[in-house]
């Protein structure tokens, strides 16, 4: 009888109003991993169906942006690129920035965009942000190929103006990518959680991301005379700065990189991540009542 009563108490799911603050139920996320892949597939296919050029757009977008930057920041504003040829400097910045900003912008509307599905069926909500990160990572990989092609062109045909100085920091690239993904994800999750209640934030995101780009060493090197004169050390405290500079150090050997500085970026990311988990956990349980 007691054994029977004990087995009665083994429930698979217990739904209660109280919940642990940091529990992301990763085991459940793992059980839904197939959903993650199909969502990644959907993100790709749906984006370019019924377009003439299809996935070629992945390459056209960074190319056009690089051209624009070359004209505006290179030719008109004449911002120095630290001795690196402009196409290489801007393209690397654009590809990395696109990765970060897409992670951020797309996650920041997760609840709003998926209200219809979230209101009808349960699955770990975290799957959607994760699928965004993975989709963007694949896109990043494709665009990196473009960058490599341009890089090879410079190495083989423009050896007189450009010598490749890759350093061992290049092996840090996966860490940098992870860090950016987590930063984008955390900020996006916080924003998307808050927008379920306070819609105002949605307006800020598009605008804010633009501003953030200029506050990040994307179109200029952090370690330059003009930047220091203009903004002092203020821009150093942008946690994205060490990442961009680190990637540059790895590729061209020119960035400003120190370990304490890298540690600062990690610390900010971890703090934001904890906030994001708490807020996301709280909101995902009831947001459907307020959307």
């Amino acid at each position: 009888m007691s054994a029977n009563a004990e087995s009665q108490e083994q429930w698979d799911v217990v739904i209660e109003p109280d919940y642990p603050l940091f529990n992301l139920r990763l085991r459940e996320v793992w059980n839904y991993r197939d959903l993650l892949w199909i969502l990644v597939f959907r993100n790709f296919v749906a984006q370019y169906k019924q377009t003439l050029l299809g996935p070629v757009w992945f390459f056209i977008q960074p190319m056009l942006t690089t051209l624009t930057f070359m004209v505006i920041f290179g030719a008109i504003a004449q911002i120095p690129t630290g001795g690196i040829p402009q196409p290489l400097f801007y393209l690397s910045g654009v590809v990395i920035w696109t990765y970060f900003s897409d992670c951020l912008v797309k996650t920041s509307t997760v609840f709003k965009d998926n209200a219809g599905v979230f209101g009808k069926v349960y699955f770990p909500r975290l799957i959607i942000p994760l699928s965004i990160i993975v989709s963007n990572l694949i896109k990043f990989a494709l665009q990196s190929v473009l960058f490599l092609l341009v890089l090879l062109y410079y190495v083989y045909f423009k050896g007189d103006v450009f010598q490749l100085h890759t350093t061992s920091f290049l092996f840090m690239l996966p860490v940098f990518l992870l860090l950016m993904a987590l930063l984008g994800l955390s900020l996006g999750m916080i924003i998307s959680s808050l927008t379920t209640k306070y819609r105002d934030l949605a307006f800020l995101v598009a605008f804010g991301v633009q501003l953030l780009m200029y506050a990040t060493p994307v179109v200029y090197p952090l370690d330059s005379e003009r930047v220091r004169n203009l903004a002092g050390n203020f821009l150093q405290w942008n946690p994205l700065a060490p990442i961009f500079e680190g990637v540059r150090k790895g590729l061209f050997g020119t960035g400003f990189f120190e370990w304490w500085y890298f540690g600062y970026a990690v610390a900010v990311t971890v703090v934001l991540m904890f906030i994001a988990i708490i807020v996301f956990n709280k909101v995902e349980r009831n947001f459907i009542d307020t959307v």
Binding site: S7, Q8, Q10, W11, D12, V13, V14, I15, E16, P17, Y19, Y32, D34, L35, W37, I38, L39, F41, R42, V45, A46, K49, Q50, G116, V117, F118, G119, K120, V121, Y122, F123, T196, K197, Y198, R199, R285, N286, I288, D289, T290
Partner: protein, 426 residues
């Protein structure tokens, strides 16, 4: 028998009015009260979920202290009026929203079908959407692959399976979506009126499939519907929710009977009140009532032999001096018994009383409801209300020495005769 679901003291609070704007200060007050260990100032215990009462408070209990258990293999019909909390209960059970207090314990994998085709992407093909929808509903990839042929066959859209679903007709779309859902194999299936879509043939197919799932495959099914006949055929257990509270749980037939009698009996007389007007800009219904036409007291119990009098007091706001009025008399399960109507004199702007008598010894001892319609003499629509009034007819003579109910929607008194001593050809 082991338990599949155990719900204890479940409550769910909703805040009414403009949620999402200008409540930063409310949020702060709630937070501050919580910090001091006080009760939430916006959560007053004991408010009932009654949308007709129009309470002053801006919070409402959609579910109020509900407890029940469901055994493995039961199929349970959840019934109640609109707004009784049925959908909220399903949402809490399927983890779309969390309860305010209380708990739900579940054993086994839950799949909820609150909608067919959740997450379908218009640009993807039918086949791709099967994978997408199946994964969202909690199926693993290999499960879907192994059932793919079966799903496609069940849907009946083989020819278009590689076409984007945005080119599908709405019927095909629903068929494909239901086909995926029908091949889920959860231990617990939660279904919310998805059967209201599709044509009659397809609905039959769906009901058949659900029946198969619950009876022969021994899974637990929770089913919300307004279609009481469907609930009676599909479910062996019933849960009746009334204004957020659990009114009754038990065998389906008993629960349906209780629901029908409680819900319909409350409406023998309906009146316009200050807060709730009956009618519209064309017609005001002052009162609609079913009276006992054979008794001195109109509110008496209506016996099978009594005349039933429908009495409508109304004010005509149109320019016509006549109104066309009609009703459909229906059983509690929404089957129409008959309809009747006529063109009656009703001078504009003054209260007029319409009456109609259904003779005694004609209806059965049962529950009935009336849909009432008003048209202009030229038959353009003015006002209509489903189930405006309802009533019960009792067979008092038979209730004393109970012989059981006689079958049928009506029970007219007919002439029977016998003649002895006649030659037959047989």
């Amino acid at each position: 028998m082991s338990k599949a679901i155990e719900v204890s003291h479940l409550s769910k609070l909703y805040r009414l009015g403009a949620i999402g704007t200008g409540n930063l200060s409310h949020d702060f007050q709630r937070w501050f009260a919580k910090v001091r260990g006080k009760e939430d100032p916006y959560m007053v215990i004991g408010k009932q979920n009654n949308r007709e009462a129009g309470g002053k408070n801006d919070v409402v209990y959609s579910l109020n202290d509900i407890s029940f258990t469901i055994n493995q293999g039961d199929s349970v019909g959840i019934i109640g009026r609109n707004g009784a909390g049925k959908s909220t209960l399903l949402k809490v059970l399927s983890r779309i929203t969390s309860p305010t207090s209380g708990s739900v314990k579940v054993r086994g994998r839950v799949a909820s079908l609150l909608e067919v085709g959740t997450g379908f992407h218009p640009e993807l093909s039918g086949r791709e959407n099967i994978y997408l929808n199946g994964s969202i509903l909690g199926m693993r990839r290999h499960e879907i692959t192994s059932k793919l042929d079966e799903i496609i066959e069940f849907s009946g859209v083989e020819r278009y399976i590689d076409t984007p679903v945005k080119r599908y007709s709405s019927g095909m779309y629903v068929r494909l979506a239901f086909a995926v859902a029908a091949h889920l194999e959860p231990e617990i299936l939660i279904v919310d009126e998805v059967l209201a879509v599709g044509d009659a043939e397809f609905q039959k197919k769906c009901l058949g499939k659900m029946n198969q799932v619950s009876t022969s495959e021994g899974r637990t099914v929770l089913f919300v519907s307004h279609n009481l006949t469907a609930v009676e055929t599909l479910c062996n257990q019933g849960i009746y929710l009334d204004m957020g509270r659990l009114a009754m749980q038990g065998p389906t037939l008993d629960v349906v009977r209780e629901y029908v009698s409680r819900d319909l009996l409350a409406r023998r007389v309906v009146q316009s009140t200050e807060s709730k007007k009956l009618g519209n800009e064309h017609i005001t219904i002052v009162e609609a009532a079913i009276e006992n036409g054979s008794s001195e007291t109109p509110s008496d119990i209506i016996d099978i032999s009594s005349d039933v009098r429908l009495k409508i007091t109304l004010i005509n706001h149109t320019k016509d001096h006549h109104l066309s009025v009609g009703f459909d008399l229906k059983t509690a399960k929404e089957e129409v018994v008959f309809g009747s109507g006529g063109k009656l004199h009703s001078p504009p702007g003054m209260p007029t009383v319409f009456t109609c008598i259904i003779p005694g010894n004609f209806l059965n001892d049962d529950l009935y409801q009336m849909d009432i319609y008003f048209h202009t003499p030229g038959m353009s629509k003015l006002f209509a209300q489903r189930s405006m009034v309802s009533f019960e007819i009792k067979d008092q003579a038979r209730e004393n020495g109970f012989l059981g109910k006689i079958n049928g929607m009506i029970r007219p008194q007919l002439q029977w005769a016998s003649s002895a001593g006649i030659k037959t050809t047989a």
